[in-house]
């Protein structure tokens, strides 16, 4: 699942080269997935999915406890981390967060439907030879 997440991050990084945003790219990917998933499962459903994702990533990155899911489904608290957490660690934590979310989707609706949902957001993204692994998050 990490490979899947990294491909999305790499793709989105290329597209955001000129952007000055400090938000980790993995979180931008999650943010881009949000409308697609909220259409399918509603805001409530998306919030539940993201909360579970945070809970799964927490043990590996305890600083994620400071991050919350807002009412509309976006993440809050990342910017406030400031200098308390190493930026590389934040980058890594967000990548794991994305991998966990993709892993949950694959566990619930399977690889085919998950890839289909992702392709709807990034139609030109190449997902050839992707090994999502079963339940490997």
């Amino acid at each position: 699942m990490r490979d899947f997440a990294e491909r999305l991050i790499a793709y989105e990084t290329r597209r955001n080269r000129s952007s000055a945003t400090k938000t980790p790219v993995a979180c931008l990917v999650i943010e881009k997935l949000r409308p697609q998933l909220a259409t399918l499962m509603g805001n409530i459903g998306f919030r539940a999915l993201l909360s579970r994702t945070l809970a799964l990533a927490n043990p590996e990155f305890p600083w994620l406890r400071a991050v919350q899911v807002k009412a509309e489904g976006s993440l809050e608290g990342l910017d406030e981390l400031g200098t308390q957490v190493d930026p590389d660690d934040v980058f890594e934590g967000c990548a794991v967060l994305l991998a966990q979310m993709l892993g949950l989707l694959v566990a619930f609706i399977g690889e085919d439907l998950t890839l289909r949902l992702v392709r709807e957001v990034w139609p030109k993204l190449s997902l050839n030879n992707l090994d999502v692994g079963k339940g490997d998050r």
Partner: protein, 526 residues
């Protein structure tokens, strides 16, 4: 006025030109289009209702997957029912679920937030926005009941009625065939504007009886088409829902030929007793106690048909198929080659929770596959036992429908039924089934000269005259063989304990008169 005579032909032509053609959408549910009179009327506003677990969502999904295309997509609005992720998780297990359709042809849209946070107008607005943007051919709201429940907490009945009216009018105007899925009970139908507005009402139910669950579908109404009334059995399997029409899809089948042939049953003397054989397209019942050769006779009937180039089906419920092929072998009849060539199928139907309609559907499918002209049902008692208890009450009615339809289409049906021999009378069957048979042959044991022998008599031949003789028969290595002319030295044969009225005929003592059907396998020596 004198010159204004109406021309009926012209009037008919005008009315034909002006009548709108209602196109019908396939449901994707096997058997359901037959029940609906061809399919779901295009642009209709329908309700799929029933208690939880009946298959409402599965039915809606099947309809959606059967009709959605990229050019004419389907919108599936989900509302506070089964979470979308779980719905997709479970529904993709069905074979009809084509994931390539998701996204472009089928779009799932969750309305839960709108329903929870806003009012009916906002819900309608959201539906209108999506429908206008997508121009779908099919729209589903699942579950609509939750929309109503939430709305009724704050809106008046009039507002609710207005919402339903606007929704129905909008979806129809946009040329969408729509389905509102909801958990309703029959009592809720009364005074509910939703059911008044709806063009179609699909009611699903499930009833537990002893250890079996029976699912049923009823089409309460369907404007614009003539659907088949009554309760139809449905089953949900890996392929999704399958419906079993009460007509078994046999309406409009070709009728039996006007000039019917006499078919040999494979026993020349019995053919003679029947006036030359059984009439093509007749239903023949062989009734007799255990061991009298009903299955042997049925085997000979099928084998004779195969010999004459008439494919056949044996639907068996007691003995295993190998028993039939072994028996045939021992009679010098070959059932294996026709099976290999697809001219004969032996259907062994023994699960104990079958519905009568799906059993019959299996038989009908097999008949269609091999182009069967002859069908054996061995036996009716076994058939009934194989059914779930809840279906046994429907057994006779369903059997009647199937036999009537099959014989109507020219298939000749031989059924066997086990009856207990009473030594005071001769009953035909514990069923009141003579109404569904054209011809009845009764087999029974009689005690004669210190032996338990077998006799047969043709009780009834609807298609003509038949022999009234009571004939003795034996089961040899040729199968059932009728021996001796009619017996005149006894009376009371039908009681099983006849009284001698004439001299005892000289006869040699028999050692083992009736060798049993033998398997070709060598038996161990003891």
């Amino acid at each position: 006025m004198k010159n204004r005579k109406r021309n009926p032909a012209k009037k008919q032509a005008v009315s034909q030109r002006t009548k709108v053609t209602i196109h019908k959408l396939p449901t994707g549910v096997r058997g359901l289009d037959d029940i609906l009179g061809g399919g779901i009327p295009e642009f209709s506003f329908n309700i799929i209702a029933g208690t939880p677990g009946c298959g409402k969502t599965t039915l809606a999904h099947q309809i959606v997957f059967a009709n959605a295309t990229a050019r004419k997509p389907a919108l599936y609005f989900t509302v506070l029912g089964e979470p979308a992720l779980k719905m997709l998780r479970y529904q993709q297990q069905y074979s009809f679920f084509d994931e390539s359709k998701l996204g472009k042809a089928i779009r799932f849209i969750n309305l839960s937030d709108v329903v929870l946070e806003k009012d009916l107008d906002a819900v309608l607005e959201e539906i209108i926005r999506e429908v206008t943007a997508t121009n779908p051919g099919v729209v589903v709201v699942d579950s609509f009941r939750t929309v109503v429940r939430k709305a009724m907490a704050s809106a008046s009945e009039l507002e609710m009625q207005s919402f339903i009216q606007r929704l129905a009018q909008f979806l129809t105007s946009w040329e969408a065939t729509s389905f509102l899925v909801g958990e309703y009970t029959v009592d809720e139908m009364r005074d509910n504007p939703l059911f008044t507005v709806a063009d179609g009402l699909f009611w699903l139910s499930q009833v537990a009886e002893r250890n079996s669950v029976v699912r049923k579908l009823q089409i309460y109404k369907l404007r614009g088409v003539a659907s088949v009334p009554g309760l139809h059995t449905i089953r949900i399997s890996d392929d999704g829902m399958q419906a079993f029409s009460r007509t078994l899809g046999l309406i409009g089948q070709k009728s039996k030929p006007s000039r019917r042939r006499r078919l040999s049953v494979g026993i020349p003397e019995l053919d003679k007793m029947m006036g030359g054989g059984v009439l093509e397209g007749d239903s023949l019942l062989i009734a007799g106690p255990s061991g009298t050769g009903k299955s042997a006779l049925a085997t000979q009937f099928i084998a004779e048909g195969l010999r004459k180039g008439e494919p056949g089906i044996m639907a068996i419920f007691e003995e295993r198929p190998k028993g039939y092929t072994d028996r045939a072998d021992s009679f010098g009849l070959n059932l294996r080659t026709p099976q290999e060539k697809g001219k004969l199928e032996i259907l062994y139907l023994r699960p104990l929770d079958l519905s009568v309609d799906e059993t019959m559907q299996e038989i009908l499918d097999a008949i269609k596959r091999v182009g069967a002209k002859r069908l054996v049902i061995d036996s009716l008692v076994g058939f009934e036992m194989a059914l779930a208890p809840g279906f046994r009450t429907d057994f006779r009615e369903s059997l009647y429908r199937m036999i009537a339809a099959l014989t109507g289409a020219g298939v000749t049906v031989l059924s066997t039924v086990e009856v207990e021999d009473k030594f005071t009378e001769m009953s035909f069957s514990h069923y009141t089934i003579s109404f569904l048979t054209d011809d009845i042959i009764r087999l029974r044991y009689v005690e004669i000269d210190g032996q338990l022998r077998k006799i047969m008599v043709v009780i009834k031949m609807r298609g003509g005259n038949h022999s009234k003789d009571i004939r003795e028969y034996v089961i040899t290595d040729k199968g059932v063989v009728v021996i001796h002319p009619r017996t005149t030295e006894y009376d009371g044969l039908t009681t099983g304990i006849p009284r001698r009225t004439g001299p005892r005929l000289a006869q040699k003592e028999e050692a083992a008169p009736e060798p049993k059907a033998k398997s070709k396998e060598k038996r161990p020596l003891h």
